[in-house]
Amino acid sequence: MATISLTGFFSNDLSIDLGTANTLVYARGRGIVLNEPSVVAVREDPRRGKIIEAVGVKAKAMLGRTPANITASRPLRDGVIADFTTAGKMIQYFIRKVHNNRYLRPRPRVVVCVPHGSNPVERRAIREATEAAGARRVFLIEEPMAAAIGAGLPVSEARGSMVLDVGGGTSEVAILSLNGIVYANSVKLGGDRFDEAIISYVRRNYSTLIGESTAERIKKEIGCAFPSDELLEVEVRGSNVAEGVPRSFSLNSNEILEALDEPLKSIVRLVRTALEQTPPELGADVAESGILLTGGGSLLRGLDKLIIEETGLPVIRAEDPLTCVARGGGRVLEMIDEQGIDVFTLEE
């Protein structure tokens, strides 16, 4: 126990946004110290068994480019742990990387942000993976709450605030007031689904196969959720299914808009449902102040305009939306120390 306290003393408390696409780590007093893809590459060694070959950026570069004995994969799917062992190793790697202390094994307190819709089994898996990675105490906080705190919403006031967090694997909407969640809903749909929609569209219309990385690049460069005056184009290379050889062709932003139609409709439906379910007083507050967009998916061009058109409410994109959840978790750690653990409904 004393050893744990001592090593904990030399560790920075952490907030981890364990996302499907990216993992962000916020160290208390230092800010965002790590932002890497949630990808792990595992090598099959005939003598030593499975060995972690690379984690994060290096592993992502291996996606789709690995030989038979190396597997690059995402240990999280739809916001929850799909491969427990690999996820634990990944968290351990990130915690060690943040502390960078060769002599003492870090024992930080960790706030992990989990999707609102995750079930107890999934939460337990996340907790155990974090504890196995060396955390001395683990708190779980729901992502919409962390995102709202990180974005600077007045969640402690008796005033309704609405946040839409579009992540890599899930999209979550929540109405918050007085440090609590009044209403929240989650769909397993996010940036990954956008990529899959683009891959399907290209295969359907161009008979060409493209990989996840290419689809993500297309999404970032010309992806949009609402028609704009400007027509953007990008050159794409893929494997033609009919000819069996690589081909290149160009895609424009209107095509991507068409490709993303289905997942975007689901997100709009999620927001509409939330507004219908919101108590009238809080709904009035939301109608006055607006909806806040966070998460990497909110960077999709025109997503705010789409929701403005569909709901008739003001929509504001958070500043630095990718890091809102991790920053919010860090702020929660500070608030726990300042005001006690009862300030939020946290799972220990």
Partner: protein, 360 residues
Amino acid sequence: MMEHMMENMKTEMKAMDAESPTELGLGAQLRLARERAGLGRAEAARNLRVTDRVIERLEYELFDELPAPIYVRGYLRQYAALLHMPPEETEEMVHLYNRTYAERPAPLIRESLRQRLVDRQFGFRVWPVLTVLVAAATLLGLWLFGGQPNLSQVSDVLQDKPATNAMPGADTTTMSGSQQQPSVVPQKTSPPAKPGKQRTMPVGRDEATAVSHNSHSPAGQDWQPDRAMSAKERARDNPDANANGQPPPGSLSGQEAQQSIQPGLAASSPTAAVPGLRDVQFQFSKDCWIEVRDADGRKILASMGRAGETKSIHAKAPLAVMLGNARGVAILVDGKKFDFSKYLNKSQISRFRIPAADNP
């Protein structure tokens, strides 16, 4: 709200007169851009899906009446985009808003080991604990090195006894048979007091306390020395005395003690002069603050002297005197004028000492 709007309009008019767009506030910039774009306030509000009031509050910089800063920054960006303002100008406006109105986020600084110790590991308890430790150490030090009553304090204890007639202000530690006569009780030599104007300050602590507590005496009517201070000082100087000012049971009574210290001097002449005791008279021509401490550092006078008043004290010198508005005071020491003009400074505050004896 109206006043605020008027102030904004005035600022805007001044800035327009100066023909310098950078001097315009961000609300004024937005309003001018909207007018240039030919948009009405209602139309702009409709485009942004906000109410007219939000646009009005943005243009008149009534940010306190808008939702949280994160929303205001969003509104500013969207409004600027609607008015086709350049992105640099928009960000400048947002920075201006952050600097002026929004709370700044706490700087993210790497925690030092000391901060960790203070803030995290020990939480809130470290400062109270440190304070208590420092206070305990100070008290211990005082008790060991400064808290022991010395002979002068023994003499004070003796003087505090009501029955005693020990000499007030006399330092018995320095007495010798040829120098001082502790059993001598000096008679008040202050000039006759004018009721309500001229007062005689007793020197000895017992007498001073008696005056301050005795509202019947003419001298004690309007002179109110700091009673709490007096009690504190007594407590400090007489650690062995109990709350009633009585010496502890084991100690000698005043007369006995004096006899035990100087048995041969008990019957000395009561009219003998005591070196170091001086009569000082302060004559006020203007209102002036005065504070006098005697040779033992005791505050024997701290009050406001009104114009036309005279205050007299009879105390053991050297006396530390502090005067505010010093030009409004004349000082007579043993009937002779005391010149303190060299101690005057620009602020009219004068600090000086009246020596135990005049220089030859």
